[in-house]
């Protein structure tokens, strides 16, 4: 079959690889009908994520049709022929964390748990196509993909919804939504969102869905700010305005009630202690990148909430913890518990309260995926979301 494989920095290819096989009783094999390139795939493309190996299949946003089931799959939940979306994190549904709906913290799905344990103390859940420290699972930018624990990790979707409408339930819609949910939005709140990429877009729309009075979108890419305005957001172009001044002006000198950092520390990537030198280099790079989080803490009103869906991996230099403490802020963060939010978001889509297709700017065949990565990497103003068809 064909799959998009990673070989080194800026080197991804469409390769012929073996078909995936059922390896465990609760596995399923999925025939992929749609898959997307995530902003976090660019961290891999740019070579920031350690423990990638040449030949790894990428992709953690994908959906399709079940073509084969392992003997242990709960047949009341899943059958061959079902059309499903697959959360990017692999979760079991039965461990302490899954029972608390913290599925991105699943205890049982990272076969390489020892690597993040060394860096983080314990390992988060495994993910599809996202390096060996996060599980080493083959990704879904392919014609077929193996889905472990499929009776918990595959969600059936109604036939009357198109792939484009439900594909982003796999990652960026729940990620933006959890960011807004974590922000603990109350009536009358102003929510400031740093970053107007796909996650920022879903975060600001989710904030409005959850009752925010006003949303402020902060970025420097004109195409993205335009997309934010289309949703009704006030925008701040950081290349033209001073963010803190503008936010104070917009909120009558109090500061935004809720701040969402949808930028993350890209330069840090997912650094681990094994790459100490790299972290040191990255720390220097991050003095700019961490700017969003520092600014969010600095601008947030007293007693407000800073919610962080942006990906962080290593250590942060000059973190203004005194400001966070002094103002009594609440900080919430983490990888998305996709399984938890997916069902209610599907209902929002069905009810027409949010149509995720707005974010799609490009549709390309899987065979053209290397070109899609290049475009996405080089032209952030025009290319916001690319959907690939195998």
């Amino acid at each position: 079959m064909k799959a998009l494989t990673w070989h080194s920095k800026f080197d991804v290819r469409v390769s012929n690889v073996d078909m995936p096989k059922i390896l465990n009783p609760r596995d399923a094999i999925l025939k992929v009908t749609s898959t997307a390139i995530c902003g976090s795939d660019l961290h891999l493309y740019d070579g920031y994520i350690p423990t990638m190996k040449s030949g790894d299949i990428l992709g953690h946003e994908f959906m399709g049709e079940i073509v084969e089931l392992g003997a242990g799959v709960d047949k009341s939940k899943l059958a061959v022929g079902d059309r499903v979306v697959i959360p990017f994190n692999v979760a079991c549904g039965s461990c302490f964390f899954c029972k608390k709906q913290l599925t991105s913290c699943c205890d049982n799905t990272n076969p390489n748990a020892a690597i993040p344990r060394a860096a983080y103390g314990s390992s988060p859940a495994g993910m599809f196509g996202y390096s060996h420290m996060f599980g080493g699972y083959a990704g879904g930018q392919a014609e077929y993909v193996r889905v472990p624990l499929a009776d918990f990790g595959a969600f059936k979707v109604p036939e009357d919804l198109t792939d484009d409408q439900v594909l982003f339930l796999t990652d960026i819609f729940p990620t933006g939504y959890m960011a807004a949910a974590n922000a603990e939005i109350e009536k009358g709140d102003t929510v400031a969102v740093w970053g107007a990429g796909p996650v920022g877009q879903f975060a600001l729309r989710s904030a409005l869905l959850l009752g925010a009075e006003r949303v402020v979108s902060i970025d420097d890419v004109p195409g993205r700010l335009e997309m934010s305005r289309a949703a009704g957001a006030t925008t701040i172009d950081i290349s033209k305005e001073t963010v803190s001044d503008k936010l104070m002006e917009l909120t009558g000198g109090r500061g935004p009630d809720r701040c969402i950092d949808a930028v993350g520390l890209e330069a840090h990537g997912m650094s681990i202690d094994a790459a100490i030198d790299r972290i040191k280099v990255a720390t220097f790079l991050a003095t700019d990148r961490a700017h969003a989080l520092r600014e969010a803490i600095q601008c947030c009103r007293k007693g407000g909430t800073v919610s962080v869906p942006g990906v962080y991996g290593g250590v942060i230099d000059k973190f203004p913890f005194g400001a966070a403490f002094g103002k009594g802020l609440t900080l919430k963060m983490g990888q998305t518990h996709v399984h938890r939010y997916l069902p209610e978001l599907l209902k929002h889509i069905q009810a027409g309260r949010l149509d995720p297709t707005f974010v799609i700017t490009h549709r390309m065949p899987l065979s053209d995926a290397p070109n899609a990565y290049k475009m996405f990497s080089e032209n952030k103003s025009q290319v916001i979301k690319v959907v690939l068809k195998p």
């Binding site: 799959a3 690889v17 609760r26 190996k53 079991c92 029972k99 205890d107 080493g136």
Partner: protein, 310 residues
């Protein structure tokens, strides 16, 4: 409860092979491995610890090195090559590898030996000497004394918390034959009766070690404790406790305490650690897989990252 001394022990043939009776010098029975390892003044016998195929290969390769090395030696070169060749020829002819002996390893094939000396196939603790007489095996050393665990043992303590009742965790663990499902260094565990079992574990470089074990404490849903008996490849003892977590329903803390004496003392551990087999990490990974089995019914795998591009 079974008292250890009352137990009739079964020594496996392959375990015997490590410290074989068919020594090159039939006058001196095999030195006890304990003596070999501790480097005592006991005379080191030349035990046969190399399998027949490996012997033939050693012989052929050694001969080749010797034949090509000797002419060089005449010209003052090829010393190492000739020495290596001589070593391999010795290894091939005698079936004794000093390095293996020092590491407590053996590749000697039990199957072949069984065919060549039929009487030994019974697996009894009797040995057949080259003179054809059967005697009690002098290598039937006793289990390691507690002091040896203190002196040379490795101590491991690890725990994991599992969202299943203690009774489930105990029941799975008590079925010893299932242990290799999550203890990946184990090849097999066969229960020979209610309290006895035979264990085969992988050692570095594709070798294996074997031992017999007995359960010395067994409290349903709470505790299993065991120790190796007799001439164990790795003397070991340990326990696993299943503790209800206070205030959390169906949640069990599984605590493992393990003590073992590695083959060839610390050297065995150093060798092992070179292969990523650091004992605490190994036990931690085992317990993690036990958790996966208990909570999800399977051990997580990524299929070695496959499919992937070559």
């Amino acid at each position: 409860m079974v008292t250890p001394n009352s137990v009739t022990r079964t020594i496996s043939e392959t375990t015997l092979d490590q410290y074989d009776l068919e020594t090159m010098d039939s006058e001196s029975p095999a030195t006890k491995p304990r003596d070999l390892q501790s480097g005592s003044s006991a005379k080191q016998s030349t035990v046969r610890n190399v399998g027949s195929n490996e012997r033939n290969i050693s012989l052929a390769a050694g001969a080749l090195l010797l034949l090509t090395g000797l002419p060089k030696l005449m010209r003052g070169r090829g010393i190492l090559q000739t020495a290596a060749g001589a070593g391999l020829v010795y290894r091939g002819m005698t079936g004794n590898c000093p390095l293996y002996q020092h590491l407590g390893l053996s590749t000697r094939d039990a199957q072949h030996d069984r065919q060549s000396s039929g009487k030994r196939a019974s697996g009894s603790s009797k040995g057949v000497y080259p003179d054809g007489n059967e005697r009690d095996t002098p290598s039937s050393k006793p289990s390691a004394a507690p002091s040896e665990y203190n002196l040379r043992g490795i101590h491991v303590e690890q725990s994991v918390t599992i969202s299943k009742p203690a009774s489930d965790c105990y029941a799975f663990w008590r079925e010893l034959g299932l242990l290799p499902q999550f203890m990946h260094h184990l090849k097999s565990v066969v229960e020979t009766d209610q309290t006895h079992s035979h264990w085969v574990a992988s050692a570095p470089l594709g070798f294996s070690v074997e031992w017999d074990a007995e359960i010395i404490n067994d409290e349903k849903d709470r505790l299993i404790a065991w120790r190796s008996v007799g001439n164990a490849g790795v003397d070991n003892s340990g326990s696993v406790r299943f503790i209800d977590v206070p205030g959390r329903e169906d949640s069990t803390e599984v605590r493992v305490v393990l003590d073992y004496i590695p083959p060839a003392g610390k050297l065995g551990s150093i060798v092992a650690s070179l292969f990523g087999e650091e004992p605490n990490q190994t036990v931690k990974a085992d317990l993690k897989r036990f958790q996966q089995l208990m909570e999800t019914g399977e051990v997580a795998t990524n299929g070695d990252g496959k499919p992937r591009a070559k």
